[in-house]
């Protein structure tokens, strides 16, 4: 009883709310609370590639360009650059030059690397460090040299940049540069890349540099909006390469150094990561214009105001969905995604298909934002397979028949709570080349009826199947039933329903489907070897250009033949030729015409069952503003704004401690002990024990 009372007193000391997971001194402050599931693997901009990592790196590092926060389709705008660089062809198009001019006066966040004394720390000093910010801090101006240094780091022999292979095809001399660095590397200590010039990257002034590419590569501008091309001060690399730093987890891979609005001040990927406002940040104006409807949605209220609006961002690690969701409902996370388990609690979908929050959420002032992601999930047919692959009429009709029978709309309804749209081709909405409505309908699978695409009937599919030589799902020559194999990754018992549904889709055509489940490694291995028949896969766009989707079906990028990204190993000479032309073109009616033709070709060939472009649903509390989903830009934290006073008030209202039942339980426990005590005393006073 005493313990419980002491505990209650302790909890009473927590203020009016007891279940607040954050320190009391943070209450009422301008802090944004969010979460992360997977610990980031890399925060070094030359290595980091996942969206989870970008949530941290993109708030710290500033590449020359960024995406407009509000406008759609996505548009590149300057970040640290003075303008979006224009490609200049030289030597008759043999090379392309991008000249990037950086805004002068931008300063780095405070960092120990900018204090020369910190380059020669004693082992004891390093051993006592918990954070690099325990040391004296300095700063300096951002220079073109820092961008050049970072481009050189793509070829660093001790780093693994995922885009080195791609960039070495384009940036003049980068491949050879990697060899040069490998020769020079002593495997330990700092490798000063300033000593080694890179042919294709040239400094033209203290705030300008030039990148020379082989041939034409218009998509290069999009890479300039990714952390791979963010500036890296040599001092930071020099600082972290001191002996003993890595043993203290003090590396550039864990402590980013940038010019962005925030700096990472706490890095505990097991529990919590904290971004603090960078005191040296120059300030950036909130965009003055957006797309239609943004003003009405209140997204232009802060137009022209200086960002960032939030002082600190706290990311807490939350591995399980139940505590995560409950903490959002309690107001301890400011925004949230919606898991399948919580969908019905959070969202109601009208008969017309409009999604909105449930009355329970509405009562709390929670609002819903939706957006179609620049991603596609599909079922691929292996082009190298004898039955479903290849450009024979028989195989083509078989693929078309299956594409019609495979009811993607039903799949979205059953397995994604309606969160997605059925794909009509490889290109996702919001990307140049994507066409809406009837213009964008896939005529192989759909027909236009009453103002919307309607999946063709099973009769059409069965007719195609018969024409392919499989009447009623049997081989016309041998009479054997058609059995197809579907390779996928098994994630758990919950997959059974999905697999049963897959089988049903093929059974509609009397085709037997054998599901071959395996783990991710084996699955990838099978895809690499072309050892599949049908399989399930997806793609998230790197940048908003049709090339980034259409290359997934480009013959020379076959996964089995060249380890490229064309997992279906699809090959069509006409498509491939059009792709080579299209990828070098700027967006124009001519480019659209080529894309239309390419999409028509792949629709007819049907190397994929055009699956789903997922829709992301996110919830935010009433105290959060300026939140607009942007699947391309990850540097969105600077735009967000919160009302801490309103949050504190609502948190207190929603989380009043309920002590009554606890006291009741204690009283019940005490009461239940009374018979035992009475019985004990009675026994102790007995003169003799009764026979047992």
């Amino acid at each position: 009883m005493r313990i419980v009372l002491i505990l209650l007193l302790f909890l009473g000391g927590c203020g009016e709310v007891w279940n607040d997971p954050y320190p009391a001194e943070e209450r009422g402050r301008n802090i944004f609370y969010t979460s992360f599931i997977n610990r980031p693997k890399h925060l070094d901009p030359v290595q980091s590639y996942t969206s989870d990592e970008a949530d941290f790196t993109m708030q710290v590092y500033e590449p020359p360009l960024q995406y407009h926060y509000l406008k759609r389709p996505y548009e590149l705008v300057p970040l640290t650059a003075l303008g979006v660089p224009k490609a200049q062809e030289i030597e008759g198009g043999k090379f392309t030059v991008y000249e990037i001019r950086i805004r002068p006066g931008i300063r780095y966040q405070p960092h120990p690397g900018f204090v020369p004394e910190n380059f020669s720390l004693s082992p004891a000093r390093i051993d006592g460090l918990k954070s690099p910010y325990d040391l004296p801090l300095g700063t300096r101006e951002l220079l073109a040299d820092d961008y050049i240094y970072q481009i050189k780091r793509l070829a660093h022999p001790r780093l693994h940049s995922p885009i080195f292979g791609l960039m070495s095809e384009y940036i003049v001399g980068l491949k050879e540069y990697a060899g040069q660095l490998k020769q020079a590397d002593r495997k330990e200590g700092w490798l000063d890349l300033r000593q080694f010039p890179l042919q294709g990257v040239e400094k033209t002034g203290p705030h300008s540099f030039r990148v020379t590419l082989r041939g034409s590569y218009p998509q290069f501008a999009y890479w300039l909006a990714m952390p791979f091309f963010a500036p890296m001060p040599w001092e930071a690399e020099r600082f972290f390469e001191q002996p003993g730093m890595a043993q203290k987890n003090l590396t550039l891979d864990w402590w980013p150094v940038g010019t962005g609005p925030y700096m990472l001040t706490e890095n505990n990927p097991n529990a919590r990561m904290v971004l603090e406002r960078n005191p040296n940040f120059r300030g950036e104006a909130y965009p003055p214009e957006g797309e239609r409807g943004d003003a009405e949605a209140g997204l232009l209220q802060d137009a022209g105001k200086t960002m960032p609006f939030i002082d600190r961002i706290v990311f807490s690690r939350e591995k399980e969905s139940i505590p995560y969701w409950n903490k959002f409902l309690q107001g301890y996370y400011d925004v949230s995604g919606i898991g399948s388990d919580q969908f019905d609690q959070a969202v109601r979908v009208s008969i017309e298909g409009d999604a909105n929050v449930t009355p329970e959420m509405e009562e709390k002032g929670i609002r819903l934002s939706t957006s179609v992601e620049t991603s596609t999930f599909y079922v691929g047919f292996n082009w190298l397979d004898k039955v479903v692959g290849g450009d024979s009429e028989r195989a083509r009709k078989l693929r078309q028949a299956i594409s019609i029978a495979f009811d993607v709309e039903e799949q979205i309804t059953i397995f994604s709570n309606g969160r997605g749209i059925a794909a009509q081709g490889p290109i996702a909405p919001g990307i140049f080349g994507y066409r809406e409505d009837q213009e964008g309908m896939n005529p192989v699978v759909y027909e236009w009826r009453e103002g919307k695409p309607v999946r063709k009937s099973l009769e059409v599919a069965r007719k195609l199947l018969a024409e392919a030589g499989y009447p009623d799902g049997r081989d016309a020559k041998t009479g054997q039933p058609l059995v197809l194999y579907f390779d996928t990754v098994a994630r758990g018992a919950g997959d059974k329903a999905a697999f049963d549904w897959y089988r049903q889709q093929f059974e509609k055509l009397s085709i037997q489907l054998e599901i071959r489940t395996t783990d991710w490694n084996r699955f990838q291995d099978k895809i690499r070897k072309g050892d599949t028949q049908t399989f399930r896969l997806g793609w998230n766009a790197d940048y908003p250009d049709p090339e980034n989707f259409l290359f997934l079906l480009h013959g020379p990028q076959s996964r089995a033949r060249t380890q490229g990204e064309n997992a279906a190993n699809y090959a069509n000479p006409e498509y491939d030729a059009l792709f080579e032309r299209m990828k070098h073109m700027a967006n124009s009616p001519e480019r659209q015409r080529l894309i239309d033709r390419m999409v028509d070709i792949v629709r007819a060939d049907a190397p994929w069952i055009w699956g789903v472009h997922p829709k992301s649903y996110s919830l935010r509390h009433s105290w959060v503003s300026n939140d607009k989903p942007n699947t391309m830009a990850r540097n969105s934290m600077k735009y967000l704004k919160i009302d801490p006073a309103k949050r504190a008030e609502l948190r207190a209202q929603w989380n009043r401690p309920v002590v009554g039942p606890l006291i009741l339980i204690v009283l019940l426990l005490v009461a239940s002990a009374i018979p035992a005590v009475v019985s004990y005393r009675k026994r102790e006073r007995m003169a003799a024990r009764p026979a047992a």
Partner: protein, 325 residues
């Protein structure tokens, strides 16, 4: 005694080599070095050269356990198994595949694990023994009967139910404690109250029944009858004589788990967001991080062997008749 300890320490060496070998084989049956490279480098735009480079840098480009390409001892030593496992015996765990220092991670994470596991063990032990002694005291009465029924019922409930139910009631409905999270130092207490309570309550069923059986067995012995015949109060018989003599089986169960407390609880840490060693191991398995997996298995084995040794030593403390030779 010293000779006994040295002998046991020497016995541990082949056991640890065996554990390492089994871990190695099990890991590489399901993961190849190529898979590990892809896990670290990602699956997008990764070239075969990048994979080979990663393997060479990490030392995964060698044969697994036998290198027929070299001469002499090199056949054994120039292998992944030898290179990766030998330094564990010097407690040099190296870096995880993502570059973070494993020893540093373990030092950081063992305290949250211990902060959760130690109170669960101690409070749980006190509660279970008290509950079992009460049942033994009231044996063959309705209190004993319903106590056993309660134990069986509590044993039958999944640990996950206690966790989710506890979080729902204590945090979501009553708003008494945070539903998950962790803070260092004294601030940790408000995050630990609920998981500790759940750990203790969840263990009452099995623990209560087990200790009740031990006590009842002891109470049937002649010395207990003698004590009662001398006119000692039942409480004195139970607490002074029965409890003391039941210490050997209690110690067997308790001392062996003390070193393992550092290893953490997989489920509880995950649900309560406690950054301990339990979740570290799970993360490493999911990330195919062999460096962490082998280190954690090695530490687990060492601690288990240590626990068994401590158990043997503790016998001599509670029973003077036992001598270790």
């Amino acid at each position: 005694m010293l000779g006994y300890i040295v002998r046991r320490a020497l016995y541990a060496i082949p056991i640890l080599i065996g554990v390492n070998l089994i871990t190695f084989l099990l890991f590489f049956v399901v993961n190849t070095p190529d898979d590990m490279a892809r896990m670290q480098l990602g699956t997008r735009r990764v070239t075969a050269e990048a994979i080979e480079k990663w393997k060479a840098e990490q030392g995964y480009d060698k044969p697994y356990v036998w290198n027929s390409g070299t001469d002499g001892l090199g056949k054994l030593t120039d292998t992944i198994f030898y290179q990766k496992s030998l330094r564990l015996f010097a407690f040099d765990f190296g870096a995880a595949e993502d570059g973070r220092d494993i020893a540093n991670e373990i030092r950081m994470r063992m305290w949250p694990s211990l902060a959760l596991a130690l109170p669960v063990l101690l409070v749980g032990l006190a509660v279970n023994i008290t509950f079992a002694l009460l049942m033994a005291f009231f044996r063959a009465t309705y209190l004993d009967f319903w106590g056993v029924v309660l134990c069986v019922a509590m044993m039958s409930i999944s640990a996950l139910f206690y966790i989710i139910g506890g979080q729902y009631i204590a945090s979501k409905v009553w708003h008494l404690v945070p539903i998950s999270g962790y803070a260092g130092g004294l601030d940790a207490w408000k995050f630990l109250v609920l998981p500790v309570l759940i750990g203790v309550v969840g263990g009452i069923g099995a623990g209560g029944r087990w200790y009740r059986t031990l006590f009842l067995e002891e109470m049937a012995r002649d010395y207990v009858r003698t004590a009662r015949a001398k006119g000692l109060a039942e409480s004195t018989v139970l607490f002074r004589h029965v409890l003391k003599n039941a210490m050997i089986p209690i110690l067997t169960g308790v001392v062996v788990v003390i070193p393992l407390l550092f290893m953490g609880s997989l489920l509880t840490e995950s649900f309560f967001g406690i950054p301990g060693l339990g979740s570290y191991t799970i993360d490493a398995i999911q990330a195919q991080d062999f460096a962490v997996v082998r280190s954690m298995v090695f530490i687990g084995s060492v601690l288990y062997i240590l626990g068994l040794l401590l158990t043997d030593l503790s016998y001599t403390l509670v029973d003077p008749r036992i001598k270790l030779q």
